[in-house]
């Protein structure tokens, strides 16, 4: 059952060096305040799995030297351009890259959710995405006839980490339409959530709200982080901070600029 703890650091305690950490795509509720806290703590050798893509979160963690490996379908700042620290790290060979494609990551998390060793997926055959994934297998579809199909092994992260609008005091978390967050939690050994606020009442008892609620049963720890997805958006709550992302893209283009960004927006706690 979830613990609602007073600080981000307490909530994040189980994210140890080397943790296999699952995080959501940039517009599903990224725990950015928690990400800055992890960088301040100096977490190392994360194996980051982005379901299915990432943006600022992966770029920051990679730039700060927290990441050993990333599995993702893409890392990009979207309209603010490429993700500069990700790009530099891949070219420098300083992180290990597992390129995937979006539905493959969704399927591999769903396989873990269902307790099966693999899920099949169409597509992929003949792509170099498949060619560079020795952990994926091709079999002949036993229901077909000379019909090759790819099987993806289940992804079972150590920890899932995301940000949501609210939780109740029992630790039930409102996720709305972002159902991949439920799948992430189901697939992961532990789940850590930051929320805008803790609300009174029981989200599960409400016929309307319960439809968009991840039961606290799957959640290990929760901390309150107002505007905790900033500068990324929180669905139905706030939008990107475009000005900040443009500033990030500009600064992170160089190592020096990135160091300055870290100093100003991550290490200086007043800004976090």
């Amino acid at each position: 059952m979830p613990q609602i703890v007073p600080t981000l650091d307490e909530a994040l305690a189980s994210i140890a060096d080397g943790c296999v950490l699952a995080v959501p795509r940039e517009n599903s509720g990224v725990a950015m305040a928690a990400t800055r806290a992890l960088i301040r703590r100096g977490v190392k050798r994360l194996e980051l799995i982005a379901l299915p893509t990432s943006s600022l979160q992966a770029d920051l963690l990679i730039g700060a030297g927290c990441v050993a490996l990333i599995e993702t379908s893409a890392v990009s700042l979207g309209e603010f351009g490429p993700a500069p620290r990700f790009t530099a790290a891949v070219i420098a060979g300083s992180i290990k890259m597992k390129d995937a494609t979006c539905p493959a990551l969704h399927a591999a998390f769903q396989a873990a959710e269902k307790g099966v060793p693999f899920f099949p997926l169409r597509g992929l055959i003949g792509s170099d995405v498949l060619a560079h994934r020795p952990d994926w297998r091709m079999i002949d579809n036993p229901f077909g006839n000379n019909d090759p199909i790819v099987l993806l092994p289940a992804i079972k992260p150590d920890v899932a980490l995301f940000h949501s609008p609210m939780a109740d005091r029992a630790g039930n978390v409102w996720i709305g339409r972002q159902r991949e967050l439920a799948t992430m939690a189901h697939a992961s050994a532990k789940t850590i959530v930051t929320v805008e606020k803790i609300v009174d009442g029981d989200l599960l008892a409400d016929a309307t709200l319960s439809a968009g609620t991840l039961p606290g049963f799957y959640v290990d720890s929760i901390a309150v982080a107002p505007r905790g997805a900033w500068p990324l958006p929180l669905p139905d709550h706030y939008a990107w901070d475009e000005k900040h992302l443009a500033e990030y893209a500009r600064l992170a283009a160089s190592e020096e600029g990135f160091a300055k960004y870290l100093e100003q927006y991550v290490y200086d706690r007043r800004a976090a």
Binding site: S28, T101, P103, V129, H132
Partner: protein, 252 residues
């Protein structure tokens, strides 16, 4: 809102949107990925001309897509055969329709790294009409052979494939793609561009008919729809684009 006066000169973006709307044809559902204002314009134009059909999902906008089952629903929907048209691009595109969204050079030690394949290694196989769209038409983008195949243009007969590329639209011309012969064919050259210029800036071989027509400009009615009906809708999702191309301003 105010919209562009109909007498305004045809812009390159309007031409491309009109070409793409024609390529979309008579289908049920067009989905448009992020940061794709010209395909979005084309899809909304097709919807206006079809009296509400096709259904258009703009993935960029919560308001303009219906998904309630999380990030997987787009891909599940395509796997169910419920998405008829999608748009893809590539850091590199080659003459066999292969697209590269990953890297140039050796995969383990790349010289250039792109963001990644996103959903391409799946959607390219299962969406019947994939329209490739890359405005930059150069030997850097249209190459003899991509460095990394994010998704192949065609597949062997026994590989499950309901979809693939039907065309490539650039800022110079329109290619169709022949899935049987695995090659592009030059269909038309945009006004102000030349067949020889296409040859000069294309890194791959393609079929060039004896006579290559000029890309048809949109009819007056199409242009009116685009500027007066589509542009204001588009402004909610792509305000900067709508302002720049169509002069549409969303009141603050």
């Amino acid at each position: 809102m105010t919209a562009a006066p109909p007498e305004q000169k045809l812009s390159n973006e309007e031409l491309l949107a009109s070409v793409i709307a024609d390529l979309i044809g008579d289908v049920r559902h067009v989905a448009v990925g992020n940061a794709s204002p010209i395909p979005a314009t084309a899809a909304l134009l097709a919807r206006e001309r079809g009296g509400g059909k096709p259904y258009v999902s703009l993935l960029q906008s919560r308001k303009h897509n219906f998904f309630t089952d999380g990030g997987r629903e787009l891909f599940d929907c395509a796997g169910q055969g419920r998405i008829d048209v999608f748009f893809l691009s590539g850091g590199e595109i080659d003459g066999e329709g292969n697209i590269n969204l990953v890297s140039i050079g050796e995969y383990e030690h790349p010289k250039v790294r792109f963001p990644g394949s996103f959903g391409a290694a799946y959607l390219y196989y299962v969406v019947p009409k994939v329209i490739l769209f890359r405005t930059e038409h150069s030997r850097r983008t249209l190459v003899p052979k991509v460095s990394f195949v994010s998704a192949p243009g065609t597949s062997p007969e026994n590989v499950f494939r309901n979809g693939g590329p039907i065309a490539l639209v650039t800022n110079r011309c329109v290619f169709s793609f022949d899935q049987t012969h695995r090659r592009f064919r030059l269909e038309s050259v945009h006004p102000g561009h030349a067949v020889s210029e296409v040859a000069e800036h294309t890194g791959f071989a393609y079929v060039q008919p004896a006579a290559v027509p000029e890309t048809p400009s949109p009819s007056a009615e199409t242009l009116r729809l685009m500027r007066q009906v589509v542009a204001p809708e588009l402004a909610e999702v792509y305000p900067q684009f709508a302002a720049r191309i169509f002069g549409v301003r969303v009141p603050a």
